[in-house]
Subunit: 429 residues, 2 copies
């Protein structure tokens, strides 16, 4: 790229009309002059060829993406893919903010993704590895999105839970278990104090547990549990399936008194979630399957924060995400970033309920609450409820007891002295 | 995991009923005993909790995924994510084949993806990084898939091209160009010998080039070019947009004599492609946007071969993929693997046309043909046609001239002596 060409892809941040631009933030590694590499990135994601041969014209002023800031972060002695170019012992690592006039791509999610993480971004000249770490949207752009229909407030109203985190639980075992036994486990967990029982993300419509039969039984049990406990209860049916089958599955669930649905977001695609949002009559819960292959590498792919924000825009009322603890391979500050993406102000868009998940149980509630620092979250144990030695009712009780301890300002150990379910949990998990 | 529990996730390959299992092949890195790590992987992707507390039962024999082979490949002194665990200087790298009874998840693509690359696979205990590198499907599983409606044979019939590769071209410039000028460029390229002109993957339905207006003009020009040249011509309209808008865009294209449609596969989601396939009346062309963030890292994510296979199953008649050459950051053998995934026998599924793309022009045709070793592919230049100094007609002519040279067994240089379009291409690109 000629030096004069680079200038066509640069602009001062103060000169950008924020309402007409989406800002993409990337980190990348390069062997080129970083500004030249960033200009290539702008070129590849917008006006790759900005004129016709033989015609005096330049589409860049109006249509090119522009570098608005660039910071050199550090050097790395090894490339993100191990394979250093011959003789190269150091890669510059750079953070860049790019303002893109969104009239180029519009507000359909697939066209946004194409620009943000498509060929242009990932095959840009001179950039050996790249990660999209954030997207900032102006309110004019967000106005086109529905976002969650219920949000945290709506979920609280449905569950009548206003003064504590919500307690979700994944019925386990599930793979191989018949619907009758499955329903019994869910019912027991509700009686013990779970607000929301749910399908596992892998349980869809197999022969051993046909979707229709499962939601029939579990919907009925949910109503029974509400009568018995006097508390609203929810079941989340996993309607993950082919895109042209989602609404049918949603309708079967709702007709059978199931009051929430779950989709594995990247498995069906973000745009399919947005379609579901336009047609669903109950809250939509998102599961994080298939996101990690894009997000886990620190210097390559797409930041999990970006995916959380997009799930919120697409209309997910609750977002199950990799939570705290070693098993979930996600640093605490990344979990907290994702929690914050769910609930922080975002123009006209309601908040989503953050549900950090992974190997939780009564004993992980105190540190979870301490880290999140407010009650607008849900925990979603599996084994921590359904693997409790005294069964799921006791498992659910142990969660509520843990919360009582926290509110009472005493330790779980002390509280467990006269709460055998909590005591058993402390001994088991 | 107890030693006795590991056994529940192992089986000899010869004891597996191939028609009832899908086989997932992964490479991963671990600090554990590799067999234990592989057993965890099976557990997490199938019967995570295989019994109810207090009930004597074991779902593993019928429902667990099983390790059927394991090879230790090598050791790496650095983890795929750089961040070695404290004091660790070596990770084992392992290849494993896992047989999964597919009655667990069925033949809906999102449920397959959930198992293959979901939470279970990417958050499995003791596995510090993992890559899904292949999936093998039995014919009973494939029988549920439609695959491409046209395939390579169908595309050849439509284009009446039987004895050479097909010549596609991306109209450039596109971002910022009005539909009238765009159409003129496409028309010129057809007259010069291009079989197929196409929208850029970033060009959808912007104000400066409304989809409907563009396909009206370009559909009409396509018919005119057919009359003028006596050859069938195709235009590929990019219908990438929200999932619930795909069929409307498809219909607008087809009503306006546009005879192929393109989708950015992972931007809309594989399942949406399958839905489109059931409803489309013209060939579906896939573009690789948003795949690279999952596939580029050698030891993490998902193999590009897997994504190619899934695109074929979903029903893509042509698959544009990262091609040869440094710019596309893809080793030649990986490109060739993907080419082969498009065309190799796959039960009842028709072949897809492989279209390796990226900075091609007349001069890259000989080596492309030499590497692929047969004519069942298309090339898809952008600038190589539309950036030709004498315009797109000359650019398209230079491709056909390059093919004449190859068939005549002479060098492009020699052939260019009395073919000025080829000569100009050789001088420019």
């Amino acid at each position: 790229m000629k030096k004069s060409d680079i200038q066509g892809f640069l602009k001062k941040e103060s000169e950008i009309d924020r309402e007409s631009h989406v800002i993409f933030e990337y980190i990348f590694e390069t062997l080129l002059d970083p500004l030249e590499a960033a200009a290539h990135l702008c070129q590849e994601t917008s006006t790759a060829q900005w004129k016709r041969p033989g015609v005096e014209e330049d589409f860049r002023p109006q249509y090119a993406a522009k570098v608005i800031s660039l910071d050199v972060l550090d050097k790395s002695s090894i490339s993100a893919f191990y394979t250093n170019a011959e003789g190269v012992s150091s890669y510059l690592r750079v953070k860049v903010r790019i303002a893109h006039p969104y009239h180029n791509f519009g507000t359909a999610i697939p066209n946004l993704l194409t620009v943000a993480m498509g060929e242009g971004a990932f095959f840009s000249h001179g950039i050996t590895a790249i990660k999209l770490i954030d997207i900032e949207f102006p309110s004019a752009y967000l106005a086109d999105f529905q976002g969650p229909a219920f949000g945290v407030g709506g979920l609280r109203k449905i569950l009548n839970v206003h003064d504590r985190p919500m307690f979700f639980g994944v019925v386990k075992p599930n793979v191989g278990l018949d619907p009758e036994s499955f329903t019994k486990l869910a019912y027991e967990s509700w009686l013990g104090g779970l607000d929301v029982a749910k399908d596992d993300e892998m349980l869809a419509d197999p022969d051993y547990s046909p979707f229709k039969r499962r939601v029939e039984l579990v919907g009925r049990a949910r109503k029974k549990a509400e009568e018995k406990t006097g508390e609203p209860k929810a079941f989340i049916a996993n309607i993950t399936g082919e895109v042209d089958d989602l609404l049918r599955l949603h309708d079967i669930a709702v007709e059978n008194d199931v009051n929430m649905v779950m989709v594995n977001v990247l498995a069906i695609g973000l745009s399919a979630v947005r379609m579901l949002r336009k047609n669903a009559s109950v809250p939509i819960v998102a599961h994080f399957d298939c996101i990690a292959p894009m997000t886990m590498h620190p210097w390559f792919g797409v930041g999990s924060k970006v995916m959380t924000k997009l799930q919120r825009l697409a209309g997910c009322d609750a977002i199950i995400m990799p939570g705290f603890g070693e098993r979930m391979k996600t640093p605490d500050d990344e979990v907290l970033d994702n929690v914050s993406e769910c609930t922080k102000p975002l123009s006209n868009i309601l908040s989503s309920l953050p549900v950090p998940g992974g190997s939780d149980w009564a004993g992980s509630l105190p540190s979870m609450y301490e880290k999140i620092k407010n009650i607008d979250f849900a925990m979603v144990p599996g084994r921590g409820v359904f693997g409790h030695p005294a069964g799921p009712r006791a498992g659910a009780m142990s969660l509520r007891q843990a919360w009582e301890a926290i509110k009472g300002g005493i330790s779980l150990e002390d509280h467990s002295i006269d709460h055998p379910e909590l005591l058993a949990a402390l001994k088991t998990f």
